[in-house]
Amino acid sequence: MTMSGTISEEDVEKELELHDQLDLVLVLAIGPSPASHLAVQKRAILISKLLGVDLEVKPYRYGLYSETITEKLQSAKNATLFRKRDGKHELTPMGLRAYYEILKRLAAKKGEDTSRFIEILHRMGDDELLALTYHLFPESFEESEIKDKVRAVIEQLRGRGTIKARREGEKIVLEVDA
Protein backbone atom coordinates (compact mmCIF):
# COMPACT_ATOMS: atom_id res chain seq x y z
CA MET A 1 0.00 0.00 0.00
CA THR A 2 1.28 3.47 -0.84
CA MET A 3 1.84 6.23 1.72
CA SER A 4 -1.46 7.81 0.71
CA GLY A 5 -3.30 4.56 1.46
CA THR A 6 -4.06 3.83 -2.19
CA ILE A 7 -4.08 0.14 -3.06
CA SER A 8 -1.81 -0.56 -6.00
CA GLU A 9 -2.15 -3.36 -8.52
CA GLU A 10 0.99 -4.88 -7.04
CA ASP A 11 -0.60 -4.85 -3.57
CA VAL A 12 -3.59 -6.74 -4.93
CA GLU A 13 -1.41 -9.31 -6.66
CA LYS A 14 0.60 -9.88 -3.48
CA GLU A 15 -2.57 -10.22 -1.44
CA LEU A 16 -4.06 -12.76 -3.83
CA GLU A 17 -0.94 -14.91 -3.52
CA LEU A 18 -1.59 -15.25 0.22
CA HIS A 19 -4.94 -16.96 -0.26
CA ASP A 20 -6.22 -20.29 -1.53
CA GLN A 21 -8.79 -20.76 -4.28
CA LEU A 22 -11.70 -21.03 -1.90
CA ASP A 23 -10.85 -17.68 -0.31
CA LEU A 24 -11.04 -16.17 -3.78
CA VAL A 25 -14.35 -17.92 -4.45
CA LEU A 26 -15.65 -16.18 -1.31
CA VAL A 27 -14.49 -12.81 -2.61
CA LEU A 28 -16.50 -13.49 -5.77
CA ALA A 29 -19.46 -14.72 -3.73
CA ILE A 30 -19.61 -11.63 -1.50
CA GLY A 31 -19.11 -9.19 -4.36
CA PRO A 32 -19.51 -5.42 -4.45
CA SER A 33 -22.50 -5.12 -2.07
CA PRO A 34 -22.98 -6.44 1.48
CA ALA A 35 -24.54 -9.91 1.36
CA SER A 36 -26.37 -12.19 3.78
CA HIS A 37 -24.76 -15.42 4.96
CA LEU A 38 -27.36 -17.41 3.03
CA ALA A 39 -26.60 -15.57 -0.22
CA VAL A 40 -22.84 -15.98 0.23
CA GLN A 41 -23.23 -19.70 0.92
CA LYS A 42 -25.37 -20.29 -2.18
CA ARG A 43 -23.27 -18.12 -4.48
CA ALA A 44 -20.06 -19.75 -3.24
CA ILE A 45 -21.46 -23.24 -3.88
CA LEU A 46 -22.43 -22.26 -7.44
CA ILE A 47 -19.16 -20.47 -8.19
CA SER A 48 -16.96 -23.22 -6.76
CA LYS A 49 -18.85 -25.78 -8.84
CA LEU A 50 -18.47 -23.67 -11.96
CA LEU A 51 -14.75 -23.12 -11.40
CA GLY A 52 -14.08 -26.71 -10.35
CA VAL A 53 -12.93 -25.72 -6.86
CA ASP A 54 -13.44 -28.58 -4.38
CA LEU A 55 -15.94 -27.77 -1.66
CA GLU A 56 -17.56 -30.14 0.79
CA VAL A 57 -21.27 -29.45 1.21
CA LYS A 58 -24.14 -31.17 2.98
CA PRO A 59 -27.92 -30.79 2.98
CA TYR A 60 -29.07 -28.55 5.80
CA ARG A 61 -32.04 -26.44 6.91
CA TYR A 62 -31.83 -23.97 4.03
CA GLY A 63 -30.40 -26.25 1.38
CA LEU A 64 -26.78 -27.17 0.75
CA TYR A 65 -24.42 -25.78 3.35
CA SER A 66 -20.65 -25.73 3.71
CA GLU A 67 -19.02 -25.59 7.13
CA THR A 68 -15.76 -24.69 5.39
CA ILE A 69 -17.33 -21.54 3.98
CA THR A 70 -18.53 -20.48 7.41
CA GLU A 71 -15.08 -21.10 8.91
CA LYS A 72 -13.35 -19.16 6.16
CA LEU A 73 -15.74 -16.23 6.50
CA GLN A 74 -14.78 -16.04 10.19
CA SER A 75 -11.06 -16.64 9.73
CA ALA A 76 -8.77 -13.81 10.86
CA LYS A 77 -6.47 -14.71 7.95
CA ASN A 78 -9.14 -13.45 5.56
CA ALA A 79 -9.80 -10.16 7.37
CA THR A 80 -7.82 -8.28 4.71
CA LEU A 81 -10.40 -9.37 2.10
CA PHE A 82 -13.76 -9.44 3.87
CA ARG A 83 -15.48 -8.77 7.18
CA LYS A 84 -18.89 -9.00 8.79
CA ARG A 85 -20.75 -5.81 9.61
CA ASP A 86 -24.36 -5.32 10.71
CA GLY A 87 -25.02 -9.01 10.16
CA LYS A 88 -23.81 -9.01 6.55
CA HIS A 89 -20.59 -9.98 4.85
CA GLU A 90 -18.79 -7.28 2.89
CA LEU A 91 -15.52 -6.86 1.07
CA THR A 92 -12.81 -4.60 2.43
CA PRO A 93 -11.31 -2.04 0.02
CA MET A 94 -8.59 -4.61 -0.72
CA GLY A 95 -11.24 -7.30 -1.18
CA LEU A 96 -13.13 -5.13 -3.64
CA ARG A 97 -9.97 -4.55 -5.68
CA ALA A 98 -9.34 -8.29 -5.53
CA TYR A 99 -12.90 -8.96 -6.74
CA TYR A 100 -12.40 -6.97 -9.94
CA GLU A 101 -8.93 -8.43 -10.45
CA ILE A 102 -10.25 -11.99 -10.13
CA LEU A 103 -13.09 -11.23 -12.57
CA LYS A 104 -10.54 -9.83 -15.01
CA ARG A 105 -8.39 -12.95 -14.71
CA LEU A 106 -11.39 -15.22 -15.16
CA ALA A 107 -12.46 -13.34 -18.28
CA ALA A 108 -8.95 -13.72 -19.71
CA LYS A 109 -8.73 -17.40 -18.82
CA LYS A 110 -12.28 -18.64 -19.38
CA GLY A 111 -13.93 -15.95 -21.49
CA GLU A 112 -16.62 -13.50 -20.47
CA ASP A 113 -19.26 -16.16 -19.79
CA THR A 114 -18.14 -16.95 -16.25
CA SER A 115 -17.84 -13.27 -15.29
CA ARG A 116 -21.28 -12.56 -16.71
CA PHE A 117 -22.81 -15.36 -14.64
CA ILE A 118 -21.14 -14.09 -11.46
CA GLU A 119 -22.51 -10.60 -12.13
CA ILE A 120 -25.99 -12.09 -12.55
CA LEU A 121 -25.66 -13.94 -9.24
CA HIS A 122 -25.21 -10.59 -7.51
CA ARG A 123 -28.44 -9.24 -8.97
CA MET A 124 -30.56 -12.23 -7.97
CA GLY A 125 -32.96 -12.01 -5.05
CA ASP A 126 -32.97 -14.72 -2.40
CA ASP A 127 -35.97 -16.54 -3.88
CA GLU A 128 -34.35 -16.88 -7.31
CA LEU A 129 -30.99 -17.80 -5.83
CA LEU A 130 -32.56 -20.53 -3.70
CA ALA A 131 -34.60 -21.80 -6.65
CA LEU A 132 -31.48 -21.97 -8.81
CA THR A 133 -29.36 -23.86 -6.27
CA TYR A 134 -32.14 -26.26 -5.26
CA HIS A 135 -32.92 -26.98 -8.90
CA LEU A 136 -29.32 -27.58 -9.97
CA PHE A 137 -28.50 -29.54 -6.79
CA PRO A 138 -31.71 -31.36 -5.80
CA GLU A 139 -30.08 -32.88 -2.72
CA SER A 140 -30.74 -29.39 -1.31
CA PHE A 141 -34.29 -30.57 -0.56
CA GLU A 142 -33.24 -33.41 1.75
CA GLU A 143 -33.09 -31.59 5.09
CA SER A 144 -34.65 -28.36 4.03
CA GLU A 145 -37.18 -26.54 6.19
CA ILE A 146 -38.15 -24.28 3.30
CA LYS A 147 -38.46 -26.87 0.55
CA ASP A 148 -42.17 -26.24 -0.12
CA LYS A 149 -41.59 -22.54 -0.64
CA VAL A 150 -38.60 -23.14 -2.91
CA ARG A 151 -40.38 -25.88 -4.84
CA ALA A 152 -43.26 -23.47 -5.55
CA VAL A 153 -40.84 -20.96 -7.10
CA ILE A 154 -39.19 -23.68 -9.19
CA GLU A 155 -42.55 -24.93 -10.44
CA GLN A 156 -43.44 -21.42 -11.59
CA LEU A 157 -40.26 -21.33 -13.66
CA ARG A 158 -40.33 -24.88 -14.95
CA GLY A 159 -41.39 -25.61 -18.49
CA ARG A 160 -42.14 -22.05 -19.55
CA GLY A 161 -41.28 -23.08 -23.07
CA THR A 162 -38.14 -20.99 -23.39
CA ILE A 163 -36.06 -24.16 -23.50
CA LYS A 164 -37.13 -27.36 -25.18
CA ALA A 165 -35.06 -30.46 -24.52
CA ARG A 166 -34.98 -33.59 -26.60
CA ARG A 167 -32.72 -36.55 -27.28
CA GLU A 168 -31.38 -37.40 -30.69
CA GLY A 169 -29.71 -40.76 -30.17
CA GLU A 170 -26.84 -40.18 -27.78
CA LYS A 171 -27.08 -36.44 -28.28
CA ILE A 172 -29.06 -34.05 -26.08
CA VAL A 173 -30.49 -31.04 -27.88
CA LEU A 174 -31.64 -27.92 -26.06
CA GLU A 175 -33.54 -25.40 -28.13
CA VAL A 176 -33.49 -21.86 -26.78
CA ASP A 177 -36.45 -19.90 -28.08
CA ALA A 178 -36.14 -16.47 -26.52
Binding site: L46, K49, L50, G52, G111, E112, D113, T114, R116, F117, E119, I120, R123, M124, E128, A131, L132, H135, L136, F137, P138, E139, I154, L157, R158, G159, R160, G161, T162, I163, A165, R167, E170, K171, I172, V173, L174, E175, V176, D177, A178
Partner: protein, 78 residues
Protein backbone atom coordinates in the same frame (compact mmCIF):
# COMPACT_ATOMS: atom_id res chain seq x y z
CA UNK B 1 -33.12 -27.63 -38.34
CA UNK B 2 -30.27 -26.36 -40.44
CA UNK B 3 -28.51 -23.55 -38.66
CA UNK B 4 -26.89 -20.87 -40.78
CA UNK B 5 -23.99 -20.61 -38.43
CA UNK B 6 -22.46 -23.17 -36.16
CA UNK B 7 -19.64 -23.05 -33.69
CA UNK B 8 -18.05 -25.48 -31.30
CA UNK B 9 -17.33 -24.19 -27.85
CA UNK B 10 -13.93 -24.69 -26.28
CA UNK B 11 -15.38 -27.51 -24.25
CA UNK B 12 -14.48 -31.03 -25.36
CA UNK B 13 -16.87 -33.90 -25.75
CA UNK B 14 -17.34 -36.84 -23.38
CA UNK B 15 -19.94 -38.53 -21.19
CA UNK B 16 -22.92 -38.31 -21.49
CA UNK B 17 -22.31 -37.37 -25.11
CA UNK B 18 -22.71 -34.31 -27.21
CA UNK B 19 -25.01 -31.60 -25.94
CA UNK B 20 -26.14 -29.18 -28.60
CA UNK B 21 -27.68 -25.87 -27.74
CA UNK B 22 -29.66 -24.31 -30.57
CA UNK B 23 -30.17 -20.57 -30.13
CA UNK B 24 -33.11 -20.19 -32.48
CA UNK B 25 -33.15 -16.40 -32.65
CA UNK B 26 -29.54 -16.15 -33.81
CA UNK B 27 -29.57 -19.51 -35.61
CA UNK B 28 -26.43 -20.42 -33.72
CA UNK B 29 -25.61 -23.91 -32.53
CA UNK B 30 -23.11 -24.47 -29.73
CA UNK B 31 -21.84 -27.91 -28.85
CA UNK B 32 -20.66 -28.59 -25.32
CA UNK B 33 -19.85 -31.46 -23.05
CA UNK B 34 -20.70 -31.49 -19.40
CA UNK B 35 -19.12 -34.35 -17.53
CA UNK B 36 -20.88 -35.90 -14.51
CA UNK B 37 -20.70 -33.48 -11.61
CA UNK B 38 -19.67 -30.54 -13.79
CA UNK B 39 -21.39 -27.21 -14.22
CA UNK B 40 -20.89 -25.00 -17.26
CA UNK B 41 -22.18 -21.65 -18.44
CA UNK B 42 -22.94 -20.44 -21.94
CA UNK B 43 -23.70 -16.84 -22.87
CA UNK B 44 -25.11 -15.56 -26.13
CA UNK B 45 -26.19 -11.95 -26.58
CA UNK B 46 -26.35 -11.46 -22.82
CA UNK B 47 -28.61 -14.45 -22.26
CA UNK B 48 -27.14 -17.10 -19.99
CA UNK B 49 -27.65 -20.85 -19.92
CA UNK B 50 -26.35 -22.86 -16.97
CA UNK B 51 -25.86 -26.60 -17.37
CA UNK B 52 -25.20 -29.05 -14.56
CA UNK B 53 -24.87 -32.78 -15.04
CA UNK B 54 -26.23 -34.13 -11.79
CA UNK B 55 -24.34 -37.28 -10.84
CA UNK B 56 -27.01 -38.47 -8.41
CA UNK B 57 -30.05 -38.31 -10.68
CA UNK B 58 -28.04 -38.78 -13.92
CA UNK B 59 -29.86 -35.84 -15.44
CA UNK B 60 -28.67 -32.76 -17.22
CA UNK B 61 -30.18 -29.84 -15.33
CA UNK B 62 -30.39 -26.39 -16.85
CA UNK B 63 -31.40 -22.86 -15.99
CA UNK B 64 -31.87 -19.96 -18.37
CA UNK B 65 -31.51 -16.23 -17.68
CA UNK B 66 -32.79 -13.56 -20.06
CA UNK B 67 -30.77 -10.53 -21.13
CA UNK B 68 -31.92 -8.66 -18.01
CA UNK B 69 -30.38 -11.33 -15.83
CA UNK B 70 -33.76 -12.71 -14.72
CA UNK B 71 -34.17 -16.44 -14.19
CA UNK B 72 -36.72 -17.40 -16.83
CA UNK B 73 -36.79 -21.17 -17.18
CA UNK B 74 -35.49 -24.29 -15.48
CA UNK B 75 -35.69 -27.94 -16.44
CA UNK B 76 -33.86 -31.20 -16.81
CA UNK B 77 -33.47 -33.91 -19.38
CA UNK B 78 -35.27 -37.19 -18.95
Amino acid sequence: MSPEKSEKSEISIGIPGLIEIHFKREKVVKAVDVKPGEMKVLVLNDRVLILHYDENTKKLRYAFFDNNGRLKDVGETF
